[in-house]
């Protein structure tokens, strides 16, 4: 897998998730970050840290990204959300604009 096509998402508790760039672009916030002018030293490496999102939530969010991609390509399945995660997940979604 090419380096360029992936992005690393790091949670508050320092868990790392390596995700395809396509998937990550589902989040408007992350998309803005990666396409900002001026260029970051680190966008080239493609790492983003989220000091306020826990690993559990971040994991679920990554799964959501992939599901969203599939859905947009025609595979209409359901995305199940465990009730106890709902609030945090919603807030994270709001934050990430996704």
């Amino acid at each position: 897998m090419k380096r360029k096509d992936t992005v690393k998402l790091i949670s508050a508790d320092e868990m790392e998730f390596v995700i395809d760039k396509d998937a990550v672009m589902v989040s408007q916030t992350i998309r803005n970050l990666l396409t900002s002018p001026g260029g970051f030293a680190e966008t080239k490496l493609g790492e983003v840290t989220f000091p306020e999102i826990s690993a559990v939530i971040l994991e679920r969010i990554c799964q959501y990204f992939y599901w969203a991609l599939q859905y947009s390509r025609g595979k209409e399945t359901e995305f199940h959300i465990e009730p106890e995660l709902t609030l945090e997940l919603m807030m994270a979604a709001n934050y990430l604009h996704t």
Binding site: Q28, N32, A41, H97
Partner: protein, 656 residues
């Protein structure tokens, strides 16, 4: 993210301020490390949190205001002072740089503050962050400086017009600011820059034109104008906005061309008249190209063109008249030559100026019209008493008949006929032409003088196309009649071989014509010699077998006869008209006859008898001896058969 600490406005803003300052430093070119993604997220998160906190700590409104204030502060403290202290080209460069920076700043800050766009702004229908940012620049920088900028740009444009090199890329960028600042509207560009630029352009070219019109000839002036228009067009493509092109070109055209058109065209030695006179095709083409873009710019040109062609045509008419009047009146063929030459020259004139209309004037209807009107004026003038209709008919006759004065190849004939038909369009009295043409056609057909059947048919087709079927129906009938007559003759000969008693003993050829088609011929009751009377009866009987409903009227004046004359020196064959033959055959039964006897026996008028006898006794071949042998016929003359008559040829044609 469960228990978030409430961020206080002061605190939060302090943190944001650090980020903003970092951004400013980067833009100013100060040594400052780039933003890391962590920095970015922190800034974004701070805003996010401050907006999602519970009231009264929900600071969306304040953050929105502070966003705007950040720009205002930066502009007033740093950007404006740096621009104010510079001038002209340096100021323009600084402006371009500052604008570029500003756009970057807007992009960054609006990303950080993005959360506001999503809810706060949407809910209250406020201007979005992007717009707020650009508006700050417009209200603070643009408003103050746009006039200065505009003047600096126009000054550079004028320098370039005078031949200096300028930085085109710079101008392009500056003018693009005018466009971008409108955020989709062209108003700023048009009102704050374009209007003044156009005025300045008009003034510039007005000055130039005033000088050039005095010093330069018409072709030179036009060359310069064309050059200027090219340059301005070039200017647009390099740094002006494309929407300026039509307006700019219109201004230049107005100042250089519209204003001075009359004076330019009327220049004595180089104006339109002179160019036409000297066949300056390139200059005329240029003139057309330039003036076709101006409303009603072509009218004066087409009018001068028309005058010129009319004058040339009228001169040809005068030339022909003069040439004809200097020749002796009785040299008929020489006079005829002049008329032929005249028609040829008119055709050439037409060709020449039609080419002008097609090439220089790009087939424009205005010029076609001018050409047509010009030709109509002089084509309807007669020459030496002959109307133009007659001249054209004679011209055609010369081409189509055997031994005509025009010796041309088949192609050349077709071409010439085509052109003659075109000229016919200009003649007002087309019916007169038809009459003359018909008369001459009849002569060609009846006396077998037509050189080529295909050409005859071809010109009829062309005439039909030009003037309609009605025009040519009779002529076509005439040509068809001849074909039918040949068939008829063939069946007559068959009839004779089947009925040997009916044979009159003389070879007879009859051409049957349909009355309506042919010109009217007077038929006189000529007293035919007995032999011929029999012929007439035989044919009449034959014709009755074919149709019972037609009446035959005999036109003896058109007939020809081959006689064998037994003269003492030798026998000779004489080709004469039926009238002449009838007169000569009288001398088979009498040696000597008087004028009145001949007249009574033949039953002709005085005019015909005089003419007849003249051709036989006073002209080239004296077949009859006249007493007294004067040069003219009088009613008291007597005539005898001239047995001593001879000629070196065995076969002669005696003209009537």
């Amino acid at each position: 993210m469960n228990e978030r600490k409430t961020i206080d406005l002061e605190q939060g803003w302090e943190f944001m301020q650090k980020g903003i300052t970092k951004l400013k430093n980067i833009l100013e070119g100060l040594p400052e490390p780039q933003f890391s993604s962590e920095d970015y997220m922190m800034l974004y998160t701070t805003i996010y949190n401050m907006c999602t906190q519970k009231p009264p700590h929900d600071y969306s409104q304040q953050l929105y205001d502070k966003y705007r204030e950040s720009f205002e502060e930066y502009i007033t403290s740093t950007v404006l002072p740096s621009l104010r202290e510079k001038h002209d080209e340096f100021m323009l460069r600084e402006l371009v740089k500052r604008w570029s920076n500003h756009k970057v700043m807007v992009r960054w800050l609006s990303r950080f503050f993005h959360y506001l766009d999503r809810y706060f702004i949407a809910r209250r229908s406020l201007p979005p962050l992007n717009e707020v940012g650009l508006t700050c620049f417009r209200e603070l920088v643009y408003q103050e400086l746009n006039a200065k900028v505009r003047d600096a740009v126009i000054s550079l444009i004028d320098q370039e017009r005078e031949g200096e090199q300028i930085d085109r890329a710079l101008l392009k960028n500056v003018l693009y600011i005018f466009v971008e600042i409108g955020m989709g509207q062209m108003d700023y560009y048009e009102n704050d820059f374009e209007a003044t630029m156009l005025k300045d352009t008009a003034a510039y070219y007005s000055r130039k034109a005033a000088n050039w019109i005095v010093d330069d000839s018409c072709p030179d002036y036009m060359l310069k104008s064309e050059e200027c228009l090219k340059c301005e067009k070039d200017r647009v493509s390099h740094y002006l906005h494309s929407s300026s092109e039509p307006k700019l070109l219109e201004k230049v055209q107005h100042e250089l061309l519209s204003v001075w058109e009359t004076r330019l065209l009327d220049k004595e030695h180089s104006g339109c008249h002179a160019l036409l006179r000297d066949d300056k095709v390139d200059d005329l083409s240029r003139m057309f190209r330039l003036f076709s873009k101006i409303p009603r710019g072509l009218d004066p040109i087409s009018s001068i063109f028309k005058q010129h062609v009319t004058a040339e045509g009228t001169a040809l008419v005068k030339q022909a008249e003069d040439a004809a009047s200097t020749k002796k009146a009785d040299k008929k063929d020489v006079v005829g030559m002049q008329e032929q030459v005249f028609v040829r020259k008119v055709i050439e004139l037409h060709d020449k100026y039609l080419a002008y209309v097609n090439d220089c004037f790009q087939n424009h209807t205005l010029f076609h019209k001018a050409l047509k009107e010009a030709f109509e004026v002089f084509c309807n003038k007669g020459v030496v008493g002959s109307s133009s209709a007659e001249l054209l008919a004679t011209f055609c006759d010369n081409i189509l008949k055997k031994g005509g004065s025009e010796k041309l190849s088949d192609e050349a004939i077709e071409e010439t006929l085509e052109k003659v038909v075109k000229l016919l369009a200009y003649i007002s009295d087309k019916d007169l032409f038809a009459e003359f043409y018909r008369k001459k056609l009849a002569r060609r057909l009846l006396f077998d003088k037509s050189a080529n059947d295909d050409h005859e048919r071809s010109i009829l087709t062309k005439l039909k196309q030009q003037c309609g079927g009605q025009f040519t129906s009779k002529m076509e009938g005439m040509v068809t009649d001849l074909t039918l007559a040949r068939e008829n003759q063939a069946s007559f000969e068959e009839y004779l071989s089947n009925n040997p008693n009916a044979n009159p003993g003389i070879d007879l050829t009859v051409t049957v014509l349909t009355t309506g088609f042919w010109p009217s011929y007077k038929s006189f009751d000529l007293n035919l010699p007995a032999e011929m009377v029999k012929c007439v009866e035989v044919f009449r009987d034959f014709y009755q077998t074919k149709t019972k409903h037609r009446k035959l009227t005999w036109i003896y004046s058109l007939g020809t006869c081959n006689l064998i004359g037994k003269f003492e020196p030798k026998m000779m064959e004489l080709i004469v008209t039926t009238y002449q033959a009838s007169a000569l055959l009288l001398f088979n039964s009498s040696d000597r006859l008087s004028y009145s006897e001949i007249m009574t026996q033949l039953n002709l008028t005085d005019d015909d008898v005089i003419r007849l006898l003249h051709s036989l006794s006073c002209a080239k071949y004296k077949i009859l001896n006249k007493e007294p042998s004067t040069k003219t016929i009088s009613p008291t003359d007597h005539f005898e058969f001239n047995s001593k008559f001879t000629d070196k040829m065995r076969r002669i044609k005696v003209t009537f």
